[in-house]
Symmetry: C2
Subunit: 489 residues, 2 copies
Amino acid sequence: MHLHAQHQPIAVMRADCHVCRAEGLSSRSQVLITSDGRAVQAMLYQIDSDLLALDEVALSEDAWDALGIRDGDGVRVSHAPVVESLAGVRQRIYGRRLSAADLSAIVRDVAHGRYTDVQLAAFLTATATLPMSIDETIFLTRAMVDVGDRMQWRAPIVVDKHCVGGLPGNRTTPLVVAIAAANGLVMPKTSSRAITSPAGTADTMETLAPVELSLAQLQKVVETEGGCIAWGGAVRLSPADDVFVRVERELDIDTEGQLIASVLSKKIAAGATHVVIDIPIGPTAKIRSREAAERLAAHLGQTAAHFGLTLHCLYTDGSQPVGRGIGPALEARDVLAVLRNDADQPRDLRERAAMVAGAVLEMGGAAQPGLGVALASQTLDSGRAWEKFQRICAAQGGLREPPRAAHVQPLLALQAGRVTHIDNRKLSRLAKLAGAPERAAAGVSLQVRLGDEVARGQPLLFLHAESPGELAYALEYARHAGDILSIEA
Amino acid sequence: MHLHAQHQPIAVMRADCHVCRAEGLSSRSQVLITSDGRAVQAMLYQIDSDLLALDEVALSEDAWDALGIRDGDGVRVSHAPVVESLAGVRQRIYGRRLSAADLSAIVRDVAHGRYTDVQLAAFLTATATLPMSIDETIFLTRAMVDVGDRMQWRAPIVVDKHCVGGLPGNRTTPLVVAIAAANGLVMPKTSSRAITSPAGTADTMETLAPVELSLAQLQKVVETEGGCIAWGGAVRLSPADDVFVRVERELDIDTEGQLIASVLSKKIAAGATHVVIDIPIGPTAKIRSREAAERLAAHLGQTAAHFGLTLHCLYTDGSQPVGRGIGPALEARDVLAVLRNDADQPRDLRERAAMVAGAVLEMGGAAQPGLGVALASQTLDSGRAWEKFQRICAAQGGLREPPRAAHVQPLLALQAGRVTHIDNRKLSRLAKLAGAPERAAAGVSLQVRLGDEVARGQPLLFLHAESPGELAYALEYARHAGDILSIEA
């Protein structure tokens, strides 16, 4: 059948089949499907037609993968067992705090696919509406590390970086890894796919090289080159997080407690000892004020300290996007331009990357305090970063050219004047409606920055889409969304 | 295909079809399907196989019904429009209170099927974790009434009753309606199906007579007989509530604000002027203390007053189930036994019904203050209630015999002693695992009450199931759940 249900295991059976009758299964029952010692929990849909024989079960792709079976193999279907940890979720919905044991049980069941999307949504919402305490955040982080794989390194210092996001196009990671590794540091970087943004680092990097590395492949790349830029989901560093992210994306929510547990669980599992956190601040960034940034930094620091992790938080300008591209391939092109020292490279992306890499170099002991940024810039100027990046890509499976969109259309200035405000959220929304991140070539390519003077009819940005339907969808939003960029005469 | 997805509209298309490519649709996209002026929003699943032709769309039963089309008819498929009211849900997730306009937009979109289950779960959880204010509850009630149908009656007084639930088997409604109508009151009773319980009144009543009456049918029954016992969902008095209930059931949550809005929106839409609310109080009932009951009564009263509705709250004993049956058909048999004055009728159900009916008779002016219970009992004794009930069932489409379960097994006392505690929640769970309410004949038939002396090996209850799988599932729970009934030597 090859049913794609975006990582949701689904089983389809005849309503009148023997198993459904004997077990009393109804549509949307949770069922346990087992075969040869492997098991997957799936949602059951029932049909009343001869598309399936009475003794056949159709499975979605994720259910096939989890069972590791082939067409025609036998499976057993029964009621899924009662998920005991849901009692904790229900209590949390009504405001009771969760213990380490509660969260451990919840995260184990989530990682094993025993929660429906509705149950995941309830857990995530409850911990957003009554935000998680530091204790709960620590328990959740610990639980998320415990159900995943761990990486071990011989180096005494292992660096990492993370950006709390909310700033479209802020794709410094590939640059920072290349600079750090070129200076001898160990930086096994695993990144996520987009949660609510038009591109995650893994989405962007995937347009340049393979990112779905196994744990063994990843360790080999890092041992050879000092660094990598891989997708964290493939190495199962925090498998529960990968489940949460899918539902957070559908809800378009991203809470502090989940954010801290998500980031730190992966850093801990990846074996990091020193981590730079980039916190962009701006009126339409995820973090809107210095106070909010400092509070987040404090909560991150408190949680990290509990696990012996050293953090350094950088507060950066979040008033407008970084670079020009917003969307996987468009951001990848910006990264290549900076690495290659192209004449028209986005200077802001280069400077932001040098700032973050500078902090990483200093934390890792590769630069004296205060000299990190200069070393980072020099690493870019000299081409050493570009050389290292190519070697990392080759080790990951080969550097490739990012795709280009089939449909490109400009959004023109309706009046002459100066750009006084850029709405990051609306820009992100626009790029997502154009198809990012699912369509790698889709997104927005911004042509102006804050303070630029523009003429009437000058392109403010280009919309990139892979299909006319998505282009139309994004254009319709652009027409009705109000000011995405404000221009004052 | 006849795909049953429990009221979830689903569309299945080829991933490589022209529409999916042109529109950039991916799996789990929300799509808008239109045909001849009718529209339904559905979740898209994609397949990579020739089960479907490139220009075919398969739909779940609910999508078929919403579109009112037939096999082979043409439809248009496009991206579902952006649901603007979700912005309010997201803000509510982060703790901002909702305005009347926010809730009106949310409820309109929910009633029109524009929310996914994940989004519904988030809304319901957010309003559980940070409980709704009285203002929000009033706004929600108003919004729920506004999107539904309204009933109008010539009578100046229209009575109704509601039990806040949590007490298995407390099936007084059919009895109260028969008593009230037999005494000349107008009582157009619409009931819900189970939310988190093993049976709702509509589920129980459906085993005795048709309950899916149209608005016109319902009005005719009430004009002729003075009362009816119909399923509220069929008359769309509060269509948004029917959507919420489906997800509340999956989450097994039931919050005060939703409860108040759900109950009152239906009473207002049904044209009621005077309503008796039965609030059972007990350690394992939904309401556990007199204080909680008084707080709920106060919030119900405040909200009702805003709509000109007069309420009378009764605090009743919620320490154990009422009657013997727990599950649709088993409860229906208890109701019949009371109406027919059977020698072995459950006395507690009879007394509870007389108490609630007494309050209804007094509020409606059919009995002097203090004399309602006596009149109610006399109406049962004389057979007038049974006669009225038969007439109502006939008017609804005909009285029928409730089904009997194919598989019945006793749960025996493991020791002799006195019954000191009955866990309502575990009993409900047990009845649900046996198949209630989806399997009408399934459930529990309780053989003892608090204070009874039992011998070792005496049946404490009988489990009723329609399939061996469900019986086994319930038995397994009974073995591991700890004390469902406590017996002390």
